[in-house]
Amino acid sequence: MPRAKTLSGWGRIAVPGAEILSEDFERITKDAVLSRGLGRSYGDSSLPPPGQPSVAGSRLADRILSFDEGTGVLRAEAGFSLFELNRLFWPRGFCAPVAPGTQFITLGGMVAADVHGKNHHRDGCFGKHVVSVRLRVADGRIVECSREAEPDLFRATLGGMGLTGHLLEVECRLPRIPSPWIRAESERVHDIDCFIEALKESGPHWPYTMGWIDCLSRGPGMGRGILTRGRWAEPGEAPAAVPRRKRRPKVPVVLPGWVISRLTVRVFNSLYFHRHVPRLRRGLIHPESFFYPLDMIRDWNRLYGPRGFTQYQCVLPEAAGHGAARRFLDLLTRRGGASMLCVIKDCGAEGLGLLSFPKPGISIALDIPVRDETQSLVDALNELVIAEGGRVYLAKDQFTRPEHFRAMEPRLAEWERIRRQWDPEGRLRSAQSVRILGDRP
């Protein structure tokens, strides 16, 4: 018997719906209310609103349209992936301007979520490096927008979760790299305050920094973890050979829900922390291992069982001080949110995008398996984040309540004004925009 079609984000929480795919992405966006890339946003950002049968998939529209070796300016169709970008351009001496946690994302998705990464403290979000985008707006017209042409639409589109128009083409600048290898250091850190200090100290010297936290550790060791920093190796210190692509084993089936439990996470975290000897390690490593350790296992989202998982990512602003991260972890450990993956990163200046997530402060991201109490855990975390003046990242979100999001996002009114101007009937929408922004289903 044919099963009803469903779509889900990376968190594997499915809704009814299908993805329409074609190399002629421009054509299939005519009737679509939303488009989607590789579906790596965790929650419901890339899912159709209730009652809509489908979204337009961009991933077959993946051609490079031009590349200028002199300026590093790349123009490509929206479905061109970061994976392909890295594969083709690392050996030619260029890299992506930002370093997010996975390379299985598209240029269109990178604009829609205005993604950031390990170099946010230095290089900002992806939008900072975008020259212009070609957009199919709600009335069907195709508009090229940039800082000069339709600047309001451009600002609303960076981080606008695809709600201002379908991203058809993206033009961005790729920086040069001295070699396709990474010089990296990693260091064990003993608590959250040391962690934030270490991130701040490393920032000016290292383009890429991030940390993994054992979020089950409590008391004096709360927030212990491993800090990683890196830079592109100079030609003299790297092998002449281009790094070979790695093989990727895959999680073959959806594992039972009990696999990720408090106990297994505690064991994993402890081993991961204590196996890091000596305290400080240095070396030359493959850029894929450095930037995308999670990509090394395909379909790792199946680890979290049949109910799926969510990622909670928030930024706690500088103004809230060091104590904010400690208060956040304290609440998390008290509520028993077990997570193997908890990533901490310092953010630099706020970008041009009106709904871009990062702002100066500390970002914390953690994976939470879906349980009966997940909604109340997210509510509690959100209340703390609002009190600290922070906000959450829509590309990860599945559980934030509309009133909480409004309280976090003073820029929302301005974004909504621009969106209404281009889409007065509210035609372009997603499951997430219906849930959080009050769009009609």
Binding site: P2, A18, E19, I20, L21, S22, E23, D24, L60, R63, I64, L65, S66, F67, L88
Partner: protein
């Protein structure tokens, strides 16, 4: 290698053309839509380190366009070492049973005109002392089956033609490569229920390029489909009548 490529803008053809461009082959693209051809040409140039990729209109629905298109390719490339055909139409059995116009188009494009194109290519390659003709047929032509009665009939005819071509001209230096894809995830199969052993265009491209280099006459992609089809070919008629595939 100098390659004239019919069907490089989409699916498996796109993946194969990219692999060729990235290793330094010189390509000339043939197809229906000039704008689409140009965009694919730019993509391949960016991947191949700016080596110029030319294009010409060639429409399998119009037999008169086939020969001139190959002439343009030969002139632009300064000769031809290989001709690749991945273009073709697809329709589900249900659709083809009811839409006679589509059926007529499909039979013409996938069988008659593909063979006309191959004949034109074969003559040009033989005139130069040989070369490779790589054509995408399908596992659907291996056995008469309920879901692909009509599509499979055209592909079966094409497969037989390619087999005969190999027998007749191999001695004169013509290497015919008949590619038989099983289920591959492309825009052509998007929305169809996915059987086991489905493959991706990039994997297909790797296997097909190796077959082109070696002159392998028949290649199944993904390779496991060789064994799947062996079993299906061995099933007695009484069993085939009962099963749904």
């Amino acid at each position: 290698m100098r390659v004239a490529f019919l069907g490089a803008t989409k699916g498996m053809g796109r993946a194969l053309a990219r692999r060729m461009a990235e290793r330094g082959d010189v390509l000339f693209l043939l197809g229906r839509d000039p704008r689409d051809l140009e965009r694919s040409a730019r993509d391949l140039e960016a991947r191949g380190g700016s080596r110029r990729v030319g294009t010409a209109r060639c429409d399998l629905e119009h037999a008169a366009t086939l020969g001139p298109a190959l002439d343009s390719a030969e002139a632009a490339l300064g000769g031809l070492d290989a001709v690749v055909v991945t273009a073709g139409l697809f329709g589900t059995q249900d659709r083809l049973e009811t839409d006679t116009a589509l059926l007529a188009r499909l039979l013409t494009v996938n069988f008659a005109h593909t063979i006309l194109f191959c004949e034109a290519a074969r003559k040009r390659l033989l005139a130069r002392g040989g070369g490779t003709l790589c054509v995408f047929s399908s596992v659907a032509g291996d056995r008469g089956r309920k879901p692909v009665v009509l599509y499979g009939a055209a592909k079966a005819g094409l497969t037989r033609y390619l087999e005969g071509l190999d027998h007749r001209f191999r001695g004169q230096g013509l290497h015919v490569v008949c590619v038989k894809p099983g289920f591959v995830r492309t825009s052509m199969t998007a929305g169809l229920p996915e059987p086991p052993f489905a493959g991706d265009p990039e994997d297909v491209a790797r296997v097909v390029l190796r077959a082109i280099d070696r002159g392998t006459p028949v290649v199944y992609v993904p390779p496991i489909w060789r064994w799947v089809m062996l079993v299906i070919r061995l099933l007695p008629r009484a069993v085939m009548r009962r099963v749904g595939f």
